[in-house]
Every structure is written in C-alpha cells, then in structure tokens.
Symmetry: C2
Subunit: 326 residues, 2 copies
C-alpha cells in the first residue's frame, strides 16, 4: 500500500508518494504563495499531489491515506487547521477542501512532529524507542516520539519546545512571552547576537563579511567565520552552542529520550556544531556517571516533511489511536 | 493478590500492605537513621515490613511483590540503588539485602515517580491518560505518567524537572548547575526570597514573626502572612507563584499532559496556592484558545509513597515491560 505525504511550508509545497518503509517513490513541488485565499493554496496542493502521482504512474486509488505537515496545529477530528501563523491561517478546513480534489482520508500534523517522526521511521533515530527532534531554524520546533509513536499531548499542544522558558524575564519572544528557548537556540538567535556584536565592534569580521549591512547576517555567516578561526565568531558560536546544550540538557532532565536529533538550518553546520554541543553536555548532567541521550544530526533533510506526513497518515489510520501508544 | 509498598525517606520508613486498587490495608513505620551502615537501615526496613504484615494478619507469602520508593535513582536489573543523596548511598544492593529477610520480587523507583503514579492509580489523577506530578518541597521532584504508566526515560534519569534550566546563569543549584527550576519553585526558594526581603526590610512582618531569627523562616511563615494580608508576604507569594506558573507552562509546552498535580510541603497551602498559580497560567500559554492541562493538588499526602511503590511493583511484574507503554 502507498501513502501520500504533503509538506506544506510558508514558501513551498512538497508532495510525494511514499511506500510503507518511508521511501519516496515519486514527488513534485509547487509554490505556496500564502498571500492568496486558502482555497487557491489547497487547490494547488491537490494539483501538486496529482502531479506526484502521475509522475510515478499512480492513481488516487493507489493511495491509502494522505498526510499533511503544517507549520502550525490542527484538529484531526474536524480536519481543521487551527493556527498556522506564517500562512496566516486560522480555522481553515484543510481536509474538506483537499478532499474536493482527492477523496482519500487526510491526517494533519505539526511539521516538527512530522519531521521527528520521519527520522524515527527512516532516518537517524530509526529503531529508537524514544527520541526528541529539534528544528533549529527561524524558530525552534520540537517533535517527540515515544514507543515509536509521536506524542502530541493530551490536547494536541505538546512539543512546543521552542517556547519553554529558558530565562525568566529574558529576551521578548514573538509568542508574547519572554525568555523562550527559541530566542537563544534558533538561527535567529545567532543573527541577533552577531548584530549586537557588530554594533559593539563595527570592524569585526562579521560586519566586514556583510559589508556593514547587518541585515545580511545569517547564521551561516557566523558559523563559517567561526570555522575559519575568527575569534569573535568563535565566541558567538560557543555562546550559541552553550545555550543549545542547556536546552538539550533540559530535554534530557525532563524526558530522558534515547536520542536527541538536531535538524533545521543551523544543523547544516554538521560535525562542527555537533561536536561543540556534545562537549558542553557532560558538565550539565544531573547524574554524571549515568548514560544519557545520544545527540545526532537529522539525516532526511527536506524529505522529512513528505516521509513523516505519509508515515503519520499511515499509522493514524492503521493503528487506531494515534498519539497514545497503548 | 496483595503488594507491599515501602516509602524510604531520609528520616522515616513507611511500610504498607496494599491491595490491587491502591488501598492500604495495614501499615507500620520506623526511623531511617541514615547515618548507620546501609545493612542496618535495610534490616529495619524488613522488620517494619514484617510489622505491617503482622498487624494486618498477613504472611510474606500473601505478598506478590515489594515496591520501594527512594529519594534517588536505582537500577532494577541489578537491584542496586545508584544514588541516594540524602541517605548518603551510592551503589547499595538494596534488593539483595532486603531479600535476605523477605524473599519476594523487589522493584525500586524514585519517590517522585512513585508519588505521581500513586495519584494516577488512587488519587487526583486517577483515570488520566497522562499526568505530570511535582513535589514542591526542599527541592522539586517530578513524576511523569503516560498511558497510565510511569515514564522514567530511556536511561532511567527522566523527570528531573527540578533541574531543568529556568534561568541561564541563574541562582547556583545544589546539583552544580545554575538556574535550575527548583531554585525558583521549591519551599527553599520561598525561604531564600523571604530572607533576602528581611535583610532589606528588617522590620517586615516576616522578620517579626520569626523574632529576627531568619533561620526560622519557613515557606509556611510566608504563606500564612500572605493569606493574612501582609503586603510584603503577598508580594513574595505572587513572585513564587509566577515562577511556579512559568515552570508549569514549560511542562505544558513540552509534554501537554492531561493534568499537572502539585504535591509536597508547599502544596499544603491548598486553594490559596492553586488559585493563584492557575490565574497566572493563561497569559503564558502558546495557544491561548486551546484547552490545556488541569492543575490540581495531590490528594494522597504521605500515603502516596506506600501506595505508589506497591502499585509500581505490581505493574512491573504483571505487565512485562515497565516504563515503556507498548
């Protein structure tokens, strides 16, 4: 049996036909253009899905279920997207609208949960009984897999790990609170720290790299300079890695998963990031002689959204209960 | 079938015969005197257990399994207590030593996990699929119940919620880190804040209540004065409740349990605490229109240790796998 995974992002839509092992057999993509009415976006999602089917020589009847990963939260009883901030969606009937074009069962889930689940089915955390996935991007998203199944909470609002408080009265967050983890552990946090540094040291290598236009600083600017040996960039990079290590230690102290998986843009720094973060964990541990979570980089990259949403749709309909592993 | 629960604390040992519903049928207690060799402490545990059996008219053969709650962590494969700080125990063969006197299967678990599980079997979180328990005492302990079973992590070191970081470079913690949650949310935190306030305002009602001897300040001193309307005590109490609300919101954002249960000494403040904390949660929520965890007071008090350890021993032997709810 085959499954259709749809990765709905703020700029792109990815669709793929996926087998039961999590292998993408055919895929297509389209632009989201979220400024349009949601009906048009969903119509294009359906067209993109049909294209993925056609490219692989499949028909809608070959698909058991459709999974959709969204940058927000959904209610699968109603098939509604409740919030999806960067699409500007509130209470959008995504399932009903999509089924006008593709009449198969639809399961909708948060994209970080989707990506974490994909890694646990076909990526780095395959065979892990428990894992926590972090996307280190503009914000920080989280996905929890327990007993091989995603944990999305009693009310569907779990794994907002980017919004646990890491500093009382800390840096104001876009969510309205202060001191959220994503203000310290996202790519945005690296950029903020780099801008502050450039204002204090206008001649530093970071400022020179962007020719003084601080709006052009990216996380990669800082990481590349740190890798190249620039002292200020190294200082910033270690500060970021320390914050990330503190965040990971909070995950260990709370849930003690078998593995913590790092994905998202910052994770492209690869072993340079991983080795630095790993080195900062031991001194933070509560029980210093006990084993603890393996910390690893995500493996599936952009495919995680298609694979994870397809595999979630699969278990949500095959397994009866979805998020509760009884 | 009956079960024996043993609550091993720093000052007292409680033993009880418990039925399958979590009702204590007979019980006894003894002093721990942890300064003695562990062999003597465990000999007295066995004697106390025999006393509980005898008082109820039971014999060791009536007991299916023995559960022991300890203020530390254990390895149930070896039956060893790995750490138990306030008993001064490291690598103590608790199971083997106890079985010299009472040759029944033994299961050992952290006391906060035990108390949280007790509440989920016979207390306030009965029938909850998921709950997180917090003991608000000298420190802050945590217990997680998912799918009706305790979650103790992939390496047995989960639920150290008192040691998640709430403030980067915050108040130094006894664990060696800085800014741990228990430095802001324990009874000890209330006492610290009250002492600081008394040093700044030597004539305040708190200082007067303890006749200037700041070593005599307890959490109850502050809470009673706040309840009575003293401005400074109210200020401190609200500050504490805000910290606790931030901590609870971190639990909600991370795991989204059905219920958060507050136990331990500070929870004796009852509705005064609960109402104040509950009022501070809504503004912290990520999804302000979504339902979230019910926040409740623990119901079982000191019985939780005996009930929870007996019920944990029961499921650990009946259910095959213990902490993983497959």
């Amino acid at each position: 049996m085959l499954y259709l995974g749809i990765d709905l992002g703020g700029s792109h839509i990815g669709c793929g036909v996926v087998d039961a092992q999590g292998t993408i057999l055919s895929n297509a993509d389209a632009r989201t253009q979220p400024e349009r009415p949601y009906q048009e976006v969903i119509r294009d999602m359906a067209a993109c899905a049909m294209q993925a089917l056609t490219l692989g020589g499949y028909a809608p009847k070959d698909i058991a279920t459709i999974g959709i990963g969204i940058p927000g939260i959904a209610d699968n009883e109603t098939g509604m997207v409740i919030f999806c901030t960067n699409l500007g969606w509130t209470n959008v009937p995504l399932r009903d609208e999509l089924q006008k074009y593709l009449n198969r069962p639809v399961y909708i889930e948060n994209d970080a949960t989707v990506a974490g689940f994909a890694e646990s089915v076909a990526g780095v955390s395959k065979n892990c009984v428990s894992s926590v996935f972090l996307t280190l991007g503009t914000g920080v998203g989280g996905g929890i897999v327990l007993n091989g199944r995603p944990w999305t909470g009693a009310h569907g609002v779990a794994t907002e790990i980017g919004h646990i408080t890491m500093e009382i009265d800390g840096i104001p967050c876009t969510c309205g609170k202060d001191g959220c983890l994503e203000r310290y552990c996202s790519a945005t946090a690296i950029i903020r720290m780099a801008r502050e540094m450039c204002l204090a040291h206008p001649d530093c290598a970071i400022a020179q790299t962007v020719k003084g236009d601080l709006d052009n600083i990216t996380a990669k600017t800082v990481i590349d300079l740190a890798r190249g040996g620039d002292d200020i960039a190294i200082h910033l990079f270690h500060r970021y890695c320390r914050y990330l290590a503190i965040g990971i230690n909070t995950i260990i102290s709370f849930l003690d998963p078998e593995m913590v998986v790092l994905g998202g843009g910052v994770s492209h720094a690869g072993a340079f990031l991983l080795d630095t973060v790993r080195a900062k964990i031991p001194s933070l541990l509560m029980f210093k002689t006990m084993p603890y979570a393996d910390i690893r980089l995500a493996e599936l990259g952009n495919d995680a959204g298609i694979i994870g949403s397809a595999m979630l749709a699969r278990i949500s309909f095959e397994g009866g209960q979805f998020a509760r592993a009884d």
